[in-house]
Amino acid sequence: TQLLEQSPQFLSIQEGENLTVYCNSSSVFSSLQWYRQEPGEGPVLLVTVVTGGEVKKLKRLTFQFGDARKDSSLHITAAQPGDTGLYLCAAHTSGTYKYIFGTGTRLKVLA
């Protein structure tokens, strides 16, 4: 199974700090999703980006799709303990049914 490369794999930060998670590939995709998964639960969809260069904001979370649609980033401003979880990116190519999943970034925000 192909995987998208996510970095960092693990991140432990203090409440109030900012952070950025990256999702990289050498392939071009038609859309990319970001999910957050808590222990013992299924992934919850946060956002979908489809246009190169697109930026979407969800409260303190900012998502960007690379201009060439090969990579994406997730920036969290003033992280809170409730942001703790596993962040997954998933990319899709038009005309196929398969999604390629990232390796995941496990974030822990300490109070």
């Binding site: 995987l3 969809l45 990232g102």
Partner: protein
């Protein structure tokens, strides 16, 4: 809101048992998926269904089968459970359309002893 439900959150089965995992979605989605998630291996696709009674093998179909008799329901069957099938099983659904968004259920943690 899209809702995907799975029949059990936790299951413990014995080696050799036949196991049924059920998934139901309420958004009239055409496509449904079964994945397993294991530490260090990420999400791996077991089977995919693009319509009622239609299915395709994913990356790791061995030891599994599926059934989709109704549009809203997609079942995963472990014909003869083995310990290496201990895992977190995730069902997902997706609508056809310009933007393909996949929605996951809460997962079933299966332990085979």
């Amino acid at each position: 809101d899209v809702k995907v439900t799975q029949s059990s959150r936790y299951l413990v089965k014995r080696t050799g048992e036949k196991v049924f995992l059920e998934c139901v979605q309420d958004m009239d989605h055409e496509n449904m998926f079964w994945y397993r998630q294991d530490p260090g291996l990420g999400l791996r696709l077991i089977y995919f269904s693009y319509d009622v009674k239609m299915k395709e093998k994913g990356d790791i179909p061995e030891g599994y089968s599926v059934s989709r008799e109704k549009k809203e329901r997609f079942s995963l069957i472990l014909e003869s459970a083995s310990t290496n099938q201990t895992s977190m099983y995730l069902c997902a659904s997706r609508s056809r359309g310009a933007i393909n968004e996949q929605y996951f259920g809460p997962g079933t943690r299966l332990t085979v002893t």
